[in-house]
């Protein structure tokens, strides 16, 4: 049987005019729904002097107020709920890595949309009924596991609900069940690849064909490392609990950006300082509006993710607008010695210089000066028996990072396996400075 190219072809290849029309209809209804059922939203709109009838189509969306993580905190736990709690069937929650937890609510309809989005991502990665999908994202409150799990069910693939951790067992199931698609964080995928290598299992002996990796920023260099290590094609997936979970956007075979599921989510890019909407192709902060979610429909939610939107004819035939890989979550951005530093920039340099993806950035402060340390594991083949050769390597790496960032870090090459491995989100940054509180 020939594989499906799309999970929902009518939506995924819808002409752009029709997408706009659909978005307009859905937005008008959504604004009425939210205004009527969420006092917090009504207050925000009243303060801005916007009435539901002012929103006549998607072109009026800029009239609506933004919401951000602080609004979610202020209204925790039920404040933004737009339906009766009795109509909700599930909650998910954020990992709380950047402050207080956020709880998102789902009706049956909301879960249905979410799993459709994940199913689209899986089919775009070449997955179909005959495939075996191992979901090694964490299960539970984290959206990664449940999202891909339910998406895989919808596609009809055999789903292995592995969750993260117990790496030996991960490898055993991949081998024994001939798993063809792996879903997890990119750092865990890299760890799984490394573990296979240690066991002497080469990429051509691994049954995997594709991987869907997301939930943390990763670079194209890291993508190539994972692809080579597992002998697969690696697809990016994007999402956030506030908007639904993974599958807000997903990558196709072109690997040139993630198609946003525009029939459900409307994306804008804004100037993070002024809030002004920026034209397509300009980098800025990504903002999402849930067009047809019922329980927790955020309007103009500021993601803090910096990225570019591009609408172009895609070789895969999908018409959905693409978002380029976020260059960093503005929450992840460090300001070191006055310079903006994204961990992804450092990762790019390391992989280009043939170092491992196992690194950690540590920032501390001595007096009023920032101290910037990078710890990188030395690969066995890079080891030589003189102190001089290692000092030279450190110096070269320092120079390469300085060329990228403009500031000089202290580079420490450390023994393999000394940086703690991640089974969920990798701890790349340790900021010991106490700048607030």
């Amino acid at each position: 049987m020939e594989k499906r190219k799309y999970y929902q072809p009518d939506a995924e290849t819808m002409p752009v005019e029709e997408i706009k029309k659909l978005q307009s209809e859905k937005l008008v209804e959504q604004v009425k729904h939210v205004y009527a059922h969420v006092p917090y939203y009504k207050k925000l709109m009243d303060e801005k002097g916007v009435k539901p009838e002012d929103i006549k189509g998607i072109e009026d969306i800029h009239k609506l107020p933004f919401v951000s993580k602080s609004d979610l905190r202020d209204t925790y736990p039920y404040g933004l709920l737009a339906v009766d709690l009795a109509d909700c069937v599930r909650i998910q929650s954020t990992s709380g890595t950047t402050g207080k937890r956020v709880i998102a609510y789902y009706t049956k309809h909301d879960l249905d949309i979410w799993s459709d989005c994940c199913a689209r991502a899986l089919v775009a990665a070449g997955v179909d009924k005959e495939d075996v999908v191992q979901v090694s994202y964490g299960y539970g409150l984290f959206t990664g596991g449940p999202g891909l799990n339910d998406g895989s069910h919808k596609v009809g693939s055999l789903t292995v609900p592995m969750s993260s951790g117990n790496t030996d067992r991960q490898l055993t199931f991949i081998n024994d069940l001939n798993v063809t698609c792996l879903c997890c964080t990119p750092s865990y995928a890299a760890y799984i690849a490394e573990s296979f290598k240690e066991k002497g299992i080469s990429p051509d002996q691994i049954s995997l064909k594709a991987g869907i990796f997301g939930a943390e920023p990763w670079t194209n260099e890291m993508r190539r490392t994972i692809e080579k290590g597992l002998g697969i094609k690696a697809y990016d997936i994007y999402g956030l609990t506030e908007i639904s979970g993974p599958g807000v956007s997903f990558e196709c075979e072109a690997q040139t950006g993630m198609h946003i599921n525009e029939d459900h989510f409307y994306a804008e890019v804004i100037d993070p300082d002024t809030g002004e909407v920026l034209p397509e192709g300009t980098p800025g902060e990504l903002v999402f509006t849930c067009l047809d979610k019922e329980a927790f429909p955020l309007l103009r939610y500021r993601t803090r993710d910096i990225c570019i939107l591009v609408r172009e004819q895609c070789s895969c035939g999908r018409t959905f607008i693409k978002m380029k890989k976020p260059t960093g979550r503005s929450d992840d951005m460090l300001i070191i010695k006055g310079v903006n530093v994204f961990p992804s920039q450092i990762e790019t340099v390391l992989l280009k210089e043939n170092y491992s993806e196992n690194y950690q950035i540590e920032v501390s402060r001595e007096g009023t000066t920032d101290v910037f340390d990078i710890y990188v594991e030395l690969l066995p083949e890079q080891f030589d028996d003189t102190v001089k050769s290692i000092a030279e390597k450190e110096k070269a790496l320092k120079g390469a990072i300085k060329a990228m960032l403009g500031i000089v870090p202290n580079v420490h090459l450390v023994a393999p396996k000394t940086i703690t491995r991640s089974e969920g989100k990798a701890v790349r940054v340790i900021d010991k400075r106490k700048l607030v509180d």
């Binding site: 080891f383 102190v387 290692i390 090459l413 023994a415 393999p416």
Partner: protein
Amino acid sequence: MAVKQLSVFMENKPGTLANLANVLAEANVDLKAMTVADTKDFGIARMIVDDTEKALIALSSAGQTAKVREVCGFKVPDQVGGLAKVLSLLGDNGISIEYMYAIVTSDSDKAHMIVRVDDNEAAEKILLDNGVELLDI
């Protein structure tokens, strides 16, 4: 003639060296000589052992970063000025020494030395030509 030396990259924290010695002991490897270079972040242990191959396998399977390379070993008369004479030979011929250490032996007349140089063959030739006895372990 060259001597095989095993070097290991180590994290700078308590117990690392003990762990290294334990791995070798369990593999029944006898240490002939050992020296440790240290920096702020890491250490490099260099060793001469009775069975380099076996030691390398034991260390690698214990997850250690280990490497074997050839170094130059020679004997010097155990008397004042004995070492100075040999080192001058190397220095005068433009051989640069990265590091050096001694091997513990029961030989009461001669001290057994190891030097790490860039060009092992050249160093050995100079020593042999000048009547210095090379080590063969």
